[in-house]
Each structure stands twice: as structure tokens, then as C-alpha cells.
């Protein structure tokens, strides 16, 4: 297991170098003079020269790249052109907001998706099976930005059950400690704020969870059907074990690998989808941070935001890969 983990971690080095190269060249790929594009047509020559120097664009590209890499390794993400503050100081609250939203969305997707898949497989060809699979089919085809808008219209505007946007009640703001508001309100024992935070989470998390939930349900169903037809399950049933025990103890354990793969892959979709969901629900996460930076042509922020999300995606996939090896020992010998 140790050797496999080391090998897997080392395989990340070229990927991470590649990520840094792509993000580095992003700003250099802007057609024309990047400083001119960022500052607009009315910028003075001095301002353009200053920005060119600030971005290090006046040096040879390989020197720029090594400087950029050095900065990254020391945890320096540069300065925002809009707010003039260090990106590594201002990015954390945004990142925490996205992580909290993505985590809750993934949890919802796993709990509902896996159970819907199991019940569908258990009662194959029943009305539940058909209904769940039709819903899953629609779920996979649903644009999340449209679903988000529809949820807002239905549950926040028409029914007035949940807040339309934001992360907290503006009149009762959460005092940030870790910037994960669920944890922060729990630490401070503020159940009133916890309820508000949870209420704000429901709509964006449901919108974000829909596609992964649908895919997880479909994969769980098909893997469970395959596992449930195998000999050892028939034996377990013949021995008189209850169906519940057979499904949740024996079948699910054997069906978990493909489901785990999908969960790993879906995290990327989730992080990508966050930019859309956060824009709709004014969720102050990293997706919205990047979106606003695009509108202000704040390229250092765009670069850092994209790099951080990609890094998070790579790390989550690493964890998923290591988890496989822990669950299924055959994988590390392949």
C-alpha cells in the first residue's frame, strides 16, 4: 500500500507542472498586449508599462515561468489587480465557501443517489425503479443553471420557504473562524445561525447535487444488479440471511468500487458546476470570485482561482484512488 501510494503521488508531479504551465501561459495567450487588454483602450502608456512590470511580462518567458513557479511553491499567488490585496489572503473565505457547498452537495448526492440505486435494483422493474430511473435520466440532462433558477423561483419566490441567495442572514452575520459556517456556528453554539446557514445551503446544494445524484443512482443500480446476481449473494440468501442484510452488507461492499470512481469523477463536475451555482445564488465561493474577476479582467485572480480548483480536483482524485486501493487490494498490483 505504501509503495502504491508513493507511486501514485509521484505520478502527480508532471500533472501539477502541466497545470502550472497552462495557468502561466493563460495570461500570455491573450491576443495582443495583455497589459493593454487588462487596462482597456484608454490606458496611458505609463500605466501599461507599470502593469507589464508588475506582471513580470517584460522578462523572458522562461524566467517568468520559474519566478511564477517559485512564487507558487512559497505559497505566493500574487496580487489582485482590482482589490490590490494579496490573493492568498483573500482567497481562503471563498475557497471555504465552495468546499462547504460542494461537500454538502456531494453528501446529498451520495446518500440519495446510492439509496435510490439500491432500492431500484432491489425492486427491479417496479414502479419505484421506473420512476427513479426516469428522474435520473432527466437529472443527467438538466442544465444546473436552469434548475437553480427554477428552484429559486419555486421555493424562494413563490413558496417563500427558503432564502433566494447568499450564505447567511445579512442581519445576523456569522462570525468567521474557520470560514466553514456550519463548523463556525457549531463551535460558537449559535443554533439560530446554524439553522439559517443550513437554510441558505439547501437550494444551491440541491442544484449542484442533481447531476452527480442521477449518475450515482444509475451506476449503483447497474452494479448492484450485477452483484446481486452473483453466486455468493445467492448463497447468502440460501443460508437464510434477510434481504436487507444481503443488500447493505454483502452487495453494497462489492458494488462500492465503480460507485467510488463515479464519485471521484463527479467531484470535478461539482467544482466546475460551482461557478454556475454560485453565480445564480450569489454564493460567495471561488466560482463567483473567478466570475467577478473575469468581468474585471483581473487575470492574476482568474489564474489563481483556476489553479486552486484544478489542484483540489487532482487531490480529490488522488484520495479516491488511494481509497480504492485500501478497499480493493487487487488494484495496487495492477
Amino acid at each position: 500500500m505504501f509503495a502504491y501510494s508513493v507511486r501514485r503521488i509521484l505520478s502527480l508531479v508532471p500533472v501539477l507542472l502541466g497545470l502550472s504551465l497552462i495557468v502561466f501561459f493563460m495570461i500570455r495567450a491573450i491576443p495582443g498586449d495583455p497589459a493593454q487588454v487588462i487596462l482597456g483602450q484608454l490606458a496611458t502608456k505609463e500605466a501599461i508599462a507599470d502593469l507589464t512590470k508588475q506582471l513580470g511580462l517584460d522578462q523572458a518567458w522562461y524566467i517568468q515561468y520559474f519566478n511564477y513557479l517559485g512564487d507558487l511553491l512559497t505559497g505566493d499567488l500574487g496580487q489582485s489587480l482590482r482589490t490590490k490585496s494579496d490573493i492568498n489572503n483573500e482567497i481562503w473565505p471563498y475557497l471555504a465557501a465552495t468546499m462547504e457547498l460542494s461537500f454538502v452537495a456531494m453528501l446529498v448526492a451520495i446518500v440519495i443517489g446510492v439509496n435510490a440505486g439500491i432500492i431500484s435494483a432491489w425492486f427491479q422493474n417496479s414502479w419505484f425503479d421506473y420512476a427513479a430511473m426516469v428522474l435520473a435520466l432527466i437529472g443527467v440532462s438538466m442544465p444546473i443553471f436552469w434548475l437553480g433558477l427554477m428552484e429559486q423561483w419555486m421555493f424562494a419566490i413563490n413558496l417563500d420557504w427558503l432564502p433566494t441567495s447568499g450564505r447567511e442572514e445579512v442581519r445576523n452575520p456569522v462570525e468567521a473562524i474557520t470560514n466553514f459556517y456550519i463548523i463556525d456556528t457549531l463551535i460558537q453554539g449559535r443554533t439560530d445561525q446554524l439553522v439559517e446557514v443550513m437554510k441558505h445551503l439547501v437550494l444551491p446544494a440541491m442544484a449542484l447535487a442533481t447531476i452527480p445524484m442521477a449518475i450515482i443512482a444509475r451506476i449503483t443500480r447497474s452494479t448492484m444488479l450485477e452483484v446481486m446476481r452473483s453466486d455468493f449473494i445467492r448463497t447468502a440468501r440460501a443460508k437464510g440471511l434477510s434481504m436487507f442484510w444481503v443488500v447493505y452488507k454483502h452487495s453494497l461492499k462489492n458494488a462500492v468500487i465503480p460507485v467510488l470512481t463515479i464519485i471521484g469523477l463527479q467531484t470535478g463536475l461539482l467544482l466546475g458546476g460551482a461557478i454556475l451555482t454560485e453565480t445564480i445564488f450569489s454564493w460567495p465561493g471561488i466560482g463567483r470570485y473567478i466570475y467577478e474577476a473575469i468581468n474585471y479582467r483581473d487575470y492574476p485572480v482568474i489564474q489563481s482561482g483556476i489553479l486552486i480548483i484544478a489542484l483540489l480536483f487532482v487531490l480529490i482524485n488522488l484520495v479516491v484512488d488511494l481509497l480504492y486501493a485500501a478497499i480493493d487490494p487487487r488494484i495496487k498490483y495492477r
Binding site: 435520466l137 483556476i306 480536483f313
Partner: protein, 299 residues
């Protein structure tokens, strides 16, 4: 007389063998039996016809503004209601099919051409070419796809053309990897070795033998990729990074409708429904094609 007598005496198995259908005919037969796939194909054909005959079907032009009827609810006159400029939403949704299908199809065709070329090079020549191309694919796949598309459009500038380019680029590694793995398995087949042995050129082997034998998974992946590309184009349009006004692109229509959510929800219901239906159609058709063309994936 003698021949017909002998034919009658042939064992039944021999007669069955004579009627064995080609793999494509077999796939078509299997596809026809899949009801969901037929529904999907019907939806796709419906939207293709809408797109082709939009000027004949749409009750009004895409930009016919009538301020006197702005933000009107669906009625007999305007089936899908009107938007804030008094434009007929049904007409705009119909014309929008042209943009979405155009972007989806051409972006995917671009990804298939470049992806196949790179995948073939990597799979056939192997060694450092394979390592280099595969690493590039790995790096591209390390980004959540929509994020990479956003980054590309942020660099190139927001426009429908740049959105198409971005979507084409982000889908390249999917096709590249697929074709690479097909080439790796096909190139070990005996007929490829025979072709090499008789001195056939690499380009002829690649384009006359290996590529046609890898078509089935490309068709399946391509159909499913069009669905994703349509959603991605709409997402970029929604974020203001794709089509510009007054283009009736569905994502852009949704972005414009956002501010009228309370007084005119129909402005956002119908464009979203159109995206969902088109994507559902391509997904169902793609699933059906996969079951028919790729027996290993049969559920």
C-alpha cells in the same frame, strides 16, 4: 434440378449462416428495438427540423420588438409569452435550436478530428509521442471541463465563436484517449500485421484500416458529447461568455430572463426546457447507440 435438390438437403445451420447480417445491420436492428433510444432520436430529429425550417415555423422574427406586448404571459397569440422587448419567445426558442445544434455539432466535430489525429499518433507510434500526448491529455483532464472552457474564453474574449473553440478544445482528450486505446488493440490484429508485411504505408494502414475499425465508439462518444457541448455552450452563454445579444442562444436567453423571474417566469421556463429536451434526446440516442454498437457496454 439437381442444384435445387441439393439446396433443400442442406442442413439448416448452413442456411442460417448465409443470412448473417453485417455488424452495422445488427446494430441497427438492436437500436430499433430500444424504445428509449427511438424516443431520443425522435427528439433530436424534431429539434433538427426546427432548426432547419425555423424561418418557416417561427411565428415571428428573432428580433421583432413590440414594446406594447412586453413581458406578456403565454397566450393563444404568443404560445410561450414575450420577453422584455416584446419579442416572441417561441420564435426565439425555435431559432435558438439553430445556434445550440450548430455549436454542439461543430465543436464535437472539431474535437473528434483533432482528438482522433492525436490519439492515432499516440496509439500507433507509441514511445515518446505517446508519452507526450498522453501527458497533455492528463493535464487537460485535470481541469474540471467547464472551468477550462471558461479559462479559454476568458483569454480569447467572450463570443459564440470562441465558446465553440473552447468547447472543442476541452473535449479533445476524451476522443484522443478513446481512439488511442482502440488503436492499441486494433494494431495487434492479424490483418494489420499482414498489411504491414506486404509493405503498406503507415498512413494507408491508419486511415483505411485502423480508423474505420474504431468508428463505433467514436459515434457513441460523439453523440453523448454533443449533449454535453450543448449544455456547456449554454453555460458559457449564461455566464455572458458565449453568444452576444440579440442572438437567441438558449443560455443567453436564460441569463436575460433572470431579472424578470418574479414578473415573467415564462421567459426562463421555455429556453431551459428546450436545453433539457435537446440534451435528453442526445443522451437517450447516445445510450441506445452504445448498447447497439458496443456490445461490451450492453446493460
Amino acid at each position: 434440378m439437381e442444384i435445387s435438390t441439393r439446396k433443400q438437403m442442406l442442413p439448416p445451420t448452413v442456411q442460417v449462416e448465409e443470412k448473417v447480417a453485417s455488424p452495422w445491420a445488427e446494430a441497427w436492428y438492436s437500436f430499433k428495438k430500444n424504445k428509449l433510444a427511438l424516443v431520443g432520436t425522435g427528439i433530436v430529429l424534431f429539434f433538427i427540423l426546427l432548426a432547419i425550417f425555423a424561418p418557416l415555423i417561427a411565428p415571428e422574427g428573432i428580433n421583432d420588438q413590440k414594446m406594447s406586448v412586453r413581458l406578456q404571459a403565454p397566450s393563444a397569440e404568443h404560445w410561450f409569452g414575450t420577453d422584455d422587448f416584446g419579442r416572441d419567445i417561441l420564435s426565439r426558442v425555435i431559432y435558438g435550436a439553430r445556434i445550440s445544434l450548430w455549436v454542439g455539432t461543430f465543436a464535437v466535430m472539431g474535437s473528434i478530428i483533432v482528438g482522433c489525429l492525436l490519439g492515432i499518433l499516440a496509439g500507433y507510434y507509441g514511445r515518446w509521442i505517446d508519452s507526450l500526448i498522453s501527458r497533455i491529455f492528463d493535464i487537460m483532464l485535470a481541469f474540471p471541463s467547464i472551468l477550462l472552457a471558461i479559462a479559454i474564453v476568458a483569454v480569447l474574449g467572450p463570443s459564440l465563436r470562441n465558446a465553440l473553440i473552447a468547447i472543442a478544445i476541452i473535449n479533445i482528450p476524451n476522443f484522443g484517449r478513446l481512439i488511442r486505446s482502440r488503436v492499441l488493440s486494433v494494431k495487434e490484429e492479424e490483418y494489420i500485421m499482414a498489411a504491414k508485411a506486404v509493405g503498406m504505408k503507415d498512413s494507408r494502414i491508419l486511415f483505411q484500416h485502423i480508423l474505420p475499425n474504431s468508428m463505433a465508439p467514436i459515434i457513441v462518444q460523439g453523440t453523448l458529447a454533443i449533449a454535453t457541448a450543448i449544455i456547456e455552450a449554454a453555460a458559457l452563454g449564461f455566464l455572458g461568455l458565449g453568444a452576444e445579444a440579440p442572438n437567441p442562444e438558449w443560455g443567453k436567453m436564460l441569463a436575460d430572463a433572470k431579472q424578470f423571474m418574479i414578473q415573467a417566469p415564462w421567459t426562463m421556463i421555455f429556453p431551459g426546457l428546450a436545453i433539457m429536451l435537446t440534451v435528453l434526446g442526445f443522451n437517450l440516442m447516445g445510450d441506445g447507440l452504445r448498447d447497439a454498437l458496443d456490445p461490451r457496454m450492453k446493460s
